[in-house]
């Protein structure tokens, strides 16, 4: 671990920061990444820029939700106890709030207000998914070396998903193999 040392006395404040960030993480944990960077790298100096970026990259290379970059940050700062504090901190408040809202709305799902909520949000939700696909595809558009292979693989994936019921894991494995042997 580089930079400033993490002391056990720092743990309550560290945990508290993640509890607070949890409530601010509208749109997913990744939306709080700039704020985490400010706190862990800028304010406290527990991590450097490279360690922060590595945590995000490792989480993206691992299976599972993007939020798992948070335990990696915690692990880099303070080992297992840091990973635990960061994970529980980023998840507990948002999870409890979601459970409450979900139950409340479930009982009122046929009222105009709640119906308007789900109907009004649907176009935005679908659009955000398309944007996420676009953002993930961008690196392949930008790198001339990998453009053709990358776009072909993207298009092939879309076609297979549209016309078959194949589980996505087989496509991901195939993509990994094709990439590892250097075809794209």
């Amino acid at each position: 671990m580089s930079g400033a040392e993490f002391l056990l006395a720092d743990l309550p404040e560290f945990f508290g920061r993640f509890l607070l960030l949890s409530l601010l993480s509208i749109g997913g944990a990744m939306s709080t990444a700039p704020e985490m960077h400010r706190y862990l790298v800028g304010e406290r100096g527990w991590l450097d820029d490279g360690q922060f970026t590595t945590a995000v990259a490792l989480a993206q290379a691992s299976p599972g939700p993007n939020v798992i970059f948070v335990p990696v940050l915690g692990f880099q700062v303070a080992g297992w106890i840091g990973a635990l504090a960061a994970t529980v901190g980023i998840l507990a408040p948002s999870t409890l709030l979601s459970l409450g809202v979900s139950r409340w709305a479930g009982k009122r799902r046929d009222t105009p207000g709640v119906r308007a909520f789900t109907a009004g949000l649907a176009p935005m939700t679908v659009s955000l998914m398309a944007c996420a696909g676009w953002v993930l595809a961008l690196p392949y558009l930008r790198e001339p070396d990998h453009r053709l292979g990358g776009l072909a693989l993207i298009a092939l994936t879309v076609l297979v998903m549209h016309y078959t019921r194949l589980a996505p894991i087989w496509l991901i494995l195939a993509g990994g193999i094709v990439g590892a042997v250097g075809w794209i």
Binding site: S127, A132, I184
Partner: protein, 196 residues
């Protein structure tokens, strides 16, 4: 059998254990995001939700703080088996990925430099992009039944894309403001339908 279930064709998980194993399986398939895999597994393969219900659940997850797919798991699990179901689904979604990502963090230095690893990640990334695009295309169909009608739906979708993909505004601003706009328009559309 059609790829997406109608409300009559829906099934239910048998136990919280089935929720745990299903969510573990879909989390482990989710490289570069779990959402596209979740849609595939929960709607088309398990048939626990219709496409419309999936969009509805995800919309609510997105408006609330917290990781969207974790919120989605929680709400779906809670619907079937109460808090035990919610805990089983969230546990399945997070447990194995957490173990794997920490192992990777520990082993990172030994394999980061290898060209094959970089290539494999690049290939998996392209597939992840394709999965996301395919899912968005499929879900466009769910907007047909929307009370706002196709023109307003397309307008909101294009506005969202412009704000997020072109202007690159933070989601913290986009989601509440476009959400409020959509909610208001849908409220008016529903009221107009009720009168006529």
């Amino acid at each position: 059998m059609s790829p997406a279930p109608t409300p009559q064709e829906l099934r239910q998980p048998e136990s919280p254990l089935e929720l745990f194993t299903t969510f573990t399986a879909l989390a482990l398939q989710g490289f570069g995001g779990v959402l596209a895999v979740a849609q595939r597994e929960l709607v088309e393969r398990k048939r626990w939700l219709t496409r419309e219900q999936f969009v509805e659940l995800y919309s609510v997850s997105q408006m609330l703080p917290g990781p969207n797919v974790v919120n989605l798991s929680l709400m779906l699990g809670d619907r079937f088996f109460g808090w035990r179901g919610g805990a089983a689904a969230v546990g399945g979604m997070l447990f194995m990925p957490l173990v794997i990502v920490i192992m990777l963090a520990i082993g990172y230095n030994t394999f980061a430099e290898q060209a094959m690893v970089a290539g494999a990640l690049r290939g998996m990334g392209a597939v992840a992009a394709g999965l996301m695009i395919a899912m968005a295309l499929k879900l466009v169909g769910t907007l047909r039944a929307n009370p706002m009608g196709p023109v307003l739906c397309a307008g909101i979708a294009l506005l969202t894309a412009a704000l997020v993909a072109v202007l690159r505004l933070p989601l913290v601003w986009v989601v509440p403001s476009v959400g409020l706009l959509g909610w208001t328009l849908a409220r008016l559309a529903i009221a107009r339908k009720a009168r006529s």
